[in-house]
């Protein structure tokens, strides 16, 4: 167990360090979420999409963009696994006494860390735009936790798919197939109150919406901690399920070689 944790730690360090060496990736990681915030914020500012909430649309949107960004990042996390498979780094670890679980978990954790950093940047940008986190410190914690967990839920899924398809093109297609629909089936952009009934029904089962609701309680309402905790709890379960899925796919990969 401690060995798994230690190996996971080393592997997370490796991945984060490697990513930091890609200046364009780092720039995009910071600029992209801001772009969403500004673009969507402007586009829908006069539509009243925030529904019954009395906040400005930007304030309504901020936790949504945090979650969108986190789960998009998660859906792409499998690309790093494919690159490691193609470069035979995975095989190199497998022929050494590396913790098998760490190989998968480190990818999932790394996605969570990236999303947390992005969420923090977004919250600071929000402050500059006059969006206050009404929940104060617990509000910050809830938003960051929602971002981290959402990224991990989808990183588990994405890594599983990566291990099954093992090709970039198939991975990209899957990420696109999953990403946009899940965004539109959630309250990221539009209040639940304004959704057609069937979308509202589906959204209930959409992890993206769980995260968004929790984060929104933290930023916009500064209340509803019970609900927020429940949603975060669901996300923990979902992250466990998708990580198990990824582990299962990893075993399938091992059997196939």
């Amino acid at each position: 167990m401690t060995e798994t944790l230690r190996h996971t730690g080393w592997m997370v360090v490796r991945q984060v360090r490697n990513l930091m060496r890609e200046p364009i990736w780092v720039a995009m990681m910071i600029i992209q979420p801001m772009l969403w915030l500004v673009l969507y914020g402007q586009l829908f500012s006069k539509t009243g999409a925030q529904g019954p909430s009395k906040s400005s649309y930007v304030a309504f949107l901020l936790p949504g963009v945090v979650c969108m960004n986190a789960f998009f990042g998660g859906t792409w996390a499998g690309m790093a696994m494919i690159s490691d498979l193609n470069r035979h780094v995975v095989d190199r670890f497998l022929a050494a006494p590396a913790s098998r679980l760490a190989i998968v978990l480190s990818q999932v954790l790394r996605a969570g860390i990236t999303a947390t950093i992005q969420a923090m940047i977004l919250l600071l940008v929000g402050l500059a735009l006059g969006v206050r986190v009404h929940g104060g410190f617990p509000g910050w914690v809830v938003v960051l936790a929602a971002a981290a967990l959402l990224a991990m839920v989808f990183a588990g899924f994405s890594n599983g798919i990566a291990l099954l398809v093992r090709k970039e093109a198939s991975m990209i297609a899957t990420a696109n197939f999953v990403g946009l629909p899940l965004m539109f089936l959630s309250s990221i952009l539009v209040s639940i109150a304004l959704m057609p009934g069937w979308i509202r029904a589906i959204a209930k089962f959409n992890p993206v919406d769980w995260g968004t609701r929790a984060a929104r309680n933290g930023v916009v309402y500064g209340s509803g901690w019970g609900h927020a905790s429940a949603y975060l709890g669901f996300l923990v379960l979902a992250a466990a399920v998708t990580s198990l899925f990824a582990t299962w796919c990893f075993r399938a990969y091992q059997r196939s070689i």
């Binding site: 080393w10 497998l94 006494p97």
Partner: protein, 321 residues
Amino acid sequence: MDAIVVEDLRKRYKDVQALDGVSFSVREGEVFGLLGPNGAGKSTTVRTLTTLTQPDSGRALVNGEDVVKHPSRVRRAIGYVAQDSGVDWEATGRENLLLQGRIHGMSGTQVKKRVDELLELVGLRDAAERVARGYSGGMKRRLDIAIGLVHQPRVLFLDEPTTGLDPEARAAMWEEVERLAAAESLTILLTTHYLEEADRLAERVAIVSRGKVVVEGTPDALKSNLRGELVTVELGDVDGRAENAAQLVRDLDGAHEVTIDGRLVRARVPNGASAIPTILGALDANGFPVAAVTTQRPSLDDVYLHYTGRDFASEDEEGKQ
């Protein structure tokens, strides 16, 4: 104790029988070569011995441990340099090595010291802080080998160590392997589809063809089992009497497979050094001028052809498809 024992390994991938009863053993401290064309089953054998692949049946022991029953004990004892480099391109040479040492459970001071030593040993000290993406093919390969050696393994697997390297880098790699075998007192199992490489590096070789070991022994023993050395005599101006000269050689004791190709007369003899004076003497006595004479010991190429009945180069081409 034998460092590696392989008994009747079999492995099937969908419609390909990759291993069809492979058996051989490698002594401790020995450099052993698995020689065969592409697709013969060498890499699958190595992947089984390094615990990456599960065999369908058969048994394999590495450093006395069963690869199926105790894979993690095997992993601690081996270094694996795969055919395809396992270098992390975005990490520096040093970072690649440090991580591998950590995975093998080495302590911070232990691994730092060992990494410095290895960077020196494989000649990457000056490139150690550079990201591996910018390394040449030969440098990446040397880093791969260093990665395989971090934890001071007992047995090192080198799967096609020089494939994809230019001739200069290949020669350098050969020296490297020879040096390492001596410096680290390792058992090395190397696979190659270069006959000359097996000849140069391996103390003993097993020739693998279509998932089976067809013959095992020292390169010299395998070659001397063939019917001797090839002597080629280039005749001087013989006025179309070359056939007569060939007949003369044919009549000599021990010469066989005598052929003629223009002014070149070729013959197989048990021992080139002792046969040449006899041949030259006979030709001279009968007034045949000789322009040049060469002898050639049989190559592993000939050995391959002899034991498999197939030409190595064409088999290799086929295996790539």
